[in-house]
Symmetry: C2
Subunit: 192 residues, 2 copies
């Protein structure tokens, strides 16, 4: 249990350091300073920084996926789904998770990138499950390629969060969700 | 003219260095080494690295925008538009431009981020122009919020290229364009 707690503390410090100082600034020393522990603690729990970054990617993805699953699986109304996604999206941006993941995408070496690929696929699976259940209730089901739609949604979501992060247009997300809501209301009228 | 050529050479070396060595590895020394000139040359043409990075963002964006404009403005068929976008998209990924921009998004300081915001808006304007012209020919025109659609397209495109870059699924882009093509064929039947 103490082992688990120590790892959790290291992972959280790594997320914060990536988000605040960027990939290149995320040395063992910088993580340790932020987390308030000795740099040696990191190497006690992780082989090297690549191992730590892989576990950080997994940690962020697992944590957010539990939260998304709990909120979106089983939701049968597009309007309801969209409202919940809006809250989850804002949490993602505010928490610094998106910045940390972006740093790992941009800077990570091959083992880290490999972990990112695995996680992206898991998110595509979740999106596929949710979209599949949603369209199954409508007459369009046979015409919608659910897997491709899921992949497109993940790409869009990633791009949206990246732009949100550099704050290209603070009202973008609001107007996007407002338009999407109109579409969702329309979509819901087809539910059988 | 020699001034222009020297700047062009520095900008190209900066793009390559960002794509190959990441934001943190893109020092004046690394850029100079890659471009085959003395580091002092950079400071003769640019105030500092932030100034260089801003101009690099502008350079990449201008170059690609000229190419996109030439290919997509005035195209009235969705199928034709999609075929052209496919070629342009592959060029973006292959050239290393996307990697360079991603490094600047993830690592750039405020003046650089500010330039990125300006460029993103210019791309949204282009997308708005193209989408507006496309839907104007159809009976859906009054129901499509063109600006929001343009913003969504840019977010999606950015996310798609980022995922493409870490090669999450090399066939993703193929299957995406194949599905989109079916939708485009359908869309084109509504042109009046």
């Amino acid at each position: 249990m103490r082992r688990e707690q120590a790892r959790d503390r290291i992972l959280r410090a790594t997320v914060d350091t990536l988000a605040q100082q960027g990939y290149a600034g995320t040395t063992a020393r910088a993580i340790a300073l932020r987390g308030g522990f000795a740099p040696g603690v990191i190497y006690y729990h992780y082989t090297d920084l690549d191992d730590l970054f892989r576990q950080t990617m997994r940690f962020v993805s697992d944590g957010r996926m539990d939260r998304y699953r709990e909120q979106v699986v089983g939701v049968t109304s597009a309007v309801e789904l969209l409202e919940r996604l809006r809250v989850l999206h804002d949490e993602d941006v505010a928490s610094g998770h998106i910045s940390a993941v972006q740093e790992l995408i941009a800077g990570g070496s091959e083992p880290v990138t490999d972990q990112i690929r695995t996680e992206v696929r898991r998110w595509q699976d979740l999106a596929e499950e949710v979209i599949g259940a949603l369209v199954a209730q409508t007459p369009f089901a046979p015409f919608i390629p659910v897997r491709q739609a899921a992949e497109a949604v993940i790409a869009f979501y990633l791009g949206l969060e990246m732009l949100q992060q550099i704050d290209v247009d603070p009202s973008r997300t609001d107007t996007f969700f407002a338009s999407a809501q109109q579409a969702a209301v329309f979509f819901d009228t087809f539910r059988t």
